[in-house]
Symmetry: D4
Subunit: 222 residues, 8 copies
Amino acid sequence: MSGEIRMDWDRASRTGVAEAVLCAGKSGAQIEAILSEAMEAGRGLLLTRLEEDRFGVLSPSTRARIDYDPVSRTAILPAPESGERLTISVAIVAAGSSDLPVAREAARTLQFHGVEPTGIHDVGVAGLWRLMEALPEIRRHDVVIAVAGMEGALFSVLAGLVRAPVIAVPTSVGYGVGAGGRIALGSALSSCAAGLVTVNIDNGFGAACAALKIAGLMRQGR
Amino acid sequence: MSGEIRMDWDRASRTGVAEAVLCAGKSGAQIEAILSEAMEAGRGLLLTRLEEDRFGVLSPSTRARIDYDPVSRTAILPAPESGERLTISVAIVAAGSSDLPVAREAARTLQFHGVEPTGIHDVGVAGLWRLMEALPEIRRHDVVIAVAGMEGALFSVLAGLVRAPVIAVPTSVGYGVGAGGRIALGSALSSCAAGLVTVNIDNGFGAACAALKIAGLMRQGR
Amino acid sequence: MSGEIRMDWDRASRTGVAEAVLCAGKSGAQIEAILSEAMEAGRGLLLTRLEEDRFGVLSPSTRARIDYDPVSRTAILPAPESGERLTISVAIVAAGSSDLPVAREAARTLQFHGVEPTGIHDVGVAGLWRLMEALPEIRRHDVVIAVAGMEGALFSVLAGLVRAPVIAVPTSVGYGVGAGGRIALGSALSSCAAGLVTVNIDNGFGAACAALKIAGLMRQGR
Amino acid sequence: MSGEIRMDWDRASRTGVAEAVLCAGKSGAQIEAILSEAMEAGRGLLLTRLEEDRFGVLSPSTRARIDYDPVSRTAILPAPESGERLTISVAIVAAGSSDLPVAREAARTLQFHGVEPTGIHDVGVAGLWRLMEALPEIRRHDVVIAVAGMEGALFSVLAGLVRAPVIAVPTSVGYGVGAGGRIALGSALSSCAAGLVTVNIDNGFGAACAALKIAGLMRQGR
Amino acid sequence: MSGEIRMDWDRASRTGVAEAVLCAGKSGAQIEAILSEAMEAGRGLLLTRLEEDRFGVLSPSTRARIDYDPVSRTAILPAPESGERLTISVAIVAAGSSDLPVAREAARTLQFHGVEPTGIHDVGVAGLWRLMEALPEIRRHDVVIAVAGMEGALFSVLAGLVRAPVIAVPTSVGYGVGAGGRIALGSALSSCAAGLVTVNIDNGFGAACAALKIAGLMRQGR
Amino acid sequence: MSGEIRMDWDRASRTGVAEAVLCAGKSGAQIEAILSEAMEAGRGLLLTRLEEDRFGVLSPSTRARIDYDPVSRTAILPAPESGERLTISVAIVAAGSSDLPVAREAARTLQFHGVEPTGIHDVGVAGLWRLMEALPEIRRHDVVIAVAGMEGALFSVLAGLVRAPVIAVPTSVGYGVGAGGRIALGSALSSCAAGLVTVNIDNGFGAACAALKIAGLMRQGR
Amino acid sequence: MSGEIRMDWDRASRTGVAEAVLCAGKSGAQIEAILSEAMEAGRGLLLTRLEEDRFGVLSPSTRARIDYDPVSRTAILPAPESGERLTISVAIVAAGSSDLPVAREAARTLQFHGVEPTGIHDVGVAGLWRLMEALPEIRRHDVVIAVAGMEGALFSVLAGLVRAPVIAVPTSVGYGVGAGGRIALGSALSSCAAGLVTVNIDNGFGAACAALKIAGLMRQGR
Amino acid sequence: MSGEIRMDWDRASRTGVAEAVLCAGKSGAQIEAILSEAMEAGRGLLLTRLEEDRFGVLSPSTRARIDYDPVSRTAILPAPESGERLTISVAIVAAGSSDLPVAREAARTLQFHGVEPTGIHDVGVAGLWRLMEALPEIRRHDVVIAVAGMEGALFSVLAGLVRAPVIAVPTSVGYGVGAGGRIALGSALSSCAAGLVTVNIDNGFGAACAALKIAGLMRQGR
């Protein structure tokens, strides 16, 4: 099995975002091996899409050392030292309570990198007053991550109201033609609001990484 | 050719909406024949999707008797007598100026049946204040026909704000994944706003017919 | 968790349809919290897509207070007082017995709002006499909700025979190319019968809400 | 160029249907060459999808010898002798006048093989009385070819009413989600009426060939 | 529940094929009720897509009276008397052993109607000699039902070799782009072999019904 | 026509990006009217997707006042005064020469807002050395806009090599399964390189707007 | 059951690749029967897609004679004698550790035919240095099998760097728009690197067979 | 414009296939510039997808120096010296005469690299005898390029009959569900014949390049 997994430990310095492990499709043994390598190397690690039953097959000593969250299916092996702090403020705005697992994946990714986001939930556009009420709070942030499934109307409405870059995360929440998140994704891509960008369906991790790349830019003191 | 076209003149009394002629795919000769039959029978007729070049091949005498609108590609052969009046008020709300041909097809269909709608245009959600400004006017109407392409976020926002039945008409306006209107249609169908109904892409005619069916219900004196 | 769910109690007065809770994707704890908030506020509530096993994890006291129907996967927390009565008559016409869960979701939504619909079942067009036999009964209603999967031919046939507005609910009943309801939905959208409107696949709830919006219009005494 | 085209003159005796030439994608020179070979061999030939402009580039002498129909885009080089007669009666039932080119392609294919079909047109289900009126006539035939675009509801309704085998020909007539004929095809495939078979979109030729194969069976005197 | 299911007992005399019950989506109670009605009426009945676990919940007395086959998921309640015999000979040709459940659904449907088909299996075109070896046997039959998944090349090869009408049944056997049967279906529809007709994916029942309709034609003594 | 178009002049101050006019689907008269309104209001304006023939129908005096580029199909009505300068540096990296129109749409959008981007072209991954050669130059920029069609492999390779935020613009360049840009878009969304964000196919304008939103963030002095 | 399965033992001599058994969709009894036939005939056999639970229902004596690998879901019944040796060298290059089951299916297929491949794993392009590091090793091989899911950028990068024929195997690894492998497949097909060929999603077996066909060519001494 | 196009002249030595220019999406000026650069560098060049009207806008002197073929839309600027000869024999087998442009693109690509292929045309499987007749000739070649549209059954039949590697080129020839080549492509990918590989729809160039890569392998003297 040696040689099957090659960690890209250098990724953070090269791209501004540390390597993370997408656990979907990996066996328990593979995940265990990756964590061992990280612990031996004295490095922190973020694991995503780690289902509860797969977490359960890890060795007790490994489980004891990582912080697992079943809602977002993420696990964090804390990094020993954290280095310089990022100074970005990020709002994570979610349309409905079914979108929370994805929103939390984004939040956990930011936290792993030392950024504590503000969560604003259940502001779907069917009750527009809820979004309007939260707008002053949202506008105080540097970057907005918008999380929505179904028709994804939140993306356009929000992007038309704030100056901050808005990163859309379509979710697979929905049924009928909305099942799987294709319509929410299409709404983000076809938005009439200029400057909206998007990541893959349910990719809270990716949206957070994009926010971190922007944060790195701000840190460069320009 | 006789026997190839059978008009369903009885449709209005049976379904509340008069037969109309979808001209796409019909030859000039077929359209001419249908109009002749209608004129001989002393009946009015609505023609949709009548492209300007096909209108041009009709005989001058026929062209003189019908009211043609190139923007909506509709032609109206006026009905000699109009019977009882429908008393419904309809707002046609369009997101962008590219949606006007479809909005006008809906308007012309209503006009053919004796209903004069109110048009409210260019109220896409990227500039939400425009919709908010028009909201009191929109709320004065019995039925709202919402016309939008691209991501179709207008449908959900509008349906969450008014009591009237909202009929969505997705348009084929858009490009990339939004081309052809599939995303706008999907947004209407996946909407988080309850009670929204939809018709086919670019089907302004159908939305107007649905409004007319509701109007018929109101006329029944309930 | 506070702040994660914001009920839009005002929705009924704003849009004519009370907020309902789509339980798919929500945890038992989230559903329990929503019901608690409703009970404390002295409000009725409709829950849809509540699977039997998720209903089972609610607390016994909560389960005792709600009326759960496993076929339609709906639960109703009755509203203490009902206010003015809606006076619309609705027929729910279903093509096959496999369409009943969706038909019943529509029926339960109407009942929650005080409207008792008439159910007409197993009238698929392969045996057209069954639909013809039921036609006089169907024609007595103000609004028709048509529920069909597979090829959805019922929508066009029905809409060509009645004056009432017809709301199509395509169902996911079918296999091969018909699996998931895309063909039935496409049939509703592409119908040659003018004035037919549609909602999302399996969205009996949405069709009922549209009927309620029309009912609200009739109540306004026009 | 010799060797590029190999006619399968033996096909009729092997499969019961003579080889025909699908002209789409072929150059005028290729079509001319095929016709020359047929004329030299003293054989009849059916050409389909021969657009008017491509017919125009054929040599005058070739054009003079073939019977061209621009509506169905078919050309027939008559067979010198016809052999034994097929004794099948076929009804071609078309939903709308836009479906006529496809219906005529089926009719021309049957005529080339010596079968004169009965055409019944404009019997879409939105005005069901038209189909009902024609039903006794339709029922007199051995095989029914049903031609419809849009939602294709005609297929199921018809197949539920007649004993004859029904061959569906979905057409590309339609717009929005119905554009291109996918929904009509899906309706034929998902039909709740048992025993319905289908051919490709706009394939009037193929439906006629299937009828001819059934006719061959009947000729075998069983 | 009365009124929810209306059997169309007259279907056989109207369309030449008896009503059958598609059990997918029906509850055990619904299936039990249908069988009871059939037994009381002294009628035979064919049930399709009856999964083994749903068969298991039927009452022992009902199970004792029906002939259940788990491979094809069909059950037959035998008809008391059979009436006149159909005299058609049908070959069911299956490409691979994974296609057998669908091939057997077709066979069982024919048997229920008194026709005993000939099964020819494992003749996929990757080893063409197997098909060639079976060709003389296949050619002895009036109608050929061809069953294939994956790329469905069998349909075209077979239809180019026999005079009999060929009815394609694409199956959902396959993976990657072939998963679900869409490619096999597309191959049947796009076939370069004229006169091939097709039914829905996995619809062995429908193919058999089409063969029975042709059989009815032959019985009429023409 | 008044009332049909409502400019959202306030958009720049609200969202950081000025309103632009998507000319696709708009008539020459509509575009002329919009430009008149802008000129009267003393405002600059960016027009996108303005085809050469539509530009040709504008009045000579209007044409004289705008800077039109046929390759990118953009027109710029210069803004009288420019206000504070944005200080971001942007690299626009294009995979092939067929991607240039889209790359130039991004460049022109940035130029309209006062940002002069660096263009790096023809660095597709089939000749990886070209990208490697340009890498030091690319790495000098704050934001990277990557433009690629076909399989879009450039997005992942680039995002794995630079610290800057990378905004993917999939183009419709390609044929077969790559036609229309769906595969390039899918590659951007499914990328194994974290933090990559994307906009709609051919949406060079949108990518530039996202860069401008990030620029706004940097201007805020953090 | 006899007659249901016809092995094509002659396939190796006809096509250069021995028949293998795709176990998906086959019952345990069918697989047992095939293995019995092979053992009686004294032949080796490769089984693919043999899930662990289906392997478990085989008889103990059969299980004892075959070499089963649960990761690749393959089983090998060893061939008694091996004949002449193939002299090709094959590199199997996999992008991520989730792609290993498919890579191993390819490896096992090669091993069954007497070719021992070199495996190079975890060289996804997000960390390009890993691929570059392995490049000299990869370049030493005659044929390269590239295995990747998600966006499949590895295919183009690799094919632009080596002289050997590259056979792409897209995998179903991915989520959102990348789920199921369609994007990875599309990337292989749309690649800007000339000469890349592909097989179906997850078809490690097929890629190995293509390599074996090339090996056969080399054996022919040209 | 300098810098917009960077030729990868080194590609042949790196990958075994010379760089070619895909002209679709390139302007006449860009193509002219590329040709000038090649002529100045004394290099040969292959241009694909060069439409006749775009060839027409090149300068007369350029046109005089290149060999243009309108059927395959390819142009060849001959290479001054050819180096060592490839010794592979390639058969290009095309199903129908509409597939010839794609077959010829493959042939021209091989000819540019010094390989003269054998063309075998019009051997579609609907008349299987034609393929069988040509089989001995086909079997004499090292590599087979199979070109087919519609249902693409030729791919599986052929791959089951020959030892040579078979490279499928699906073409966009077809209509209805077969339009655009998706079904033919799917047939190649889902083939039951092991070892078949495929390239993109209409990519005759790519198939030839794959054959050249195999030829390079053979040249290496193994």
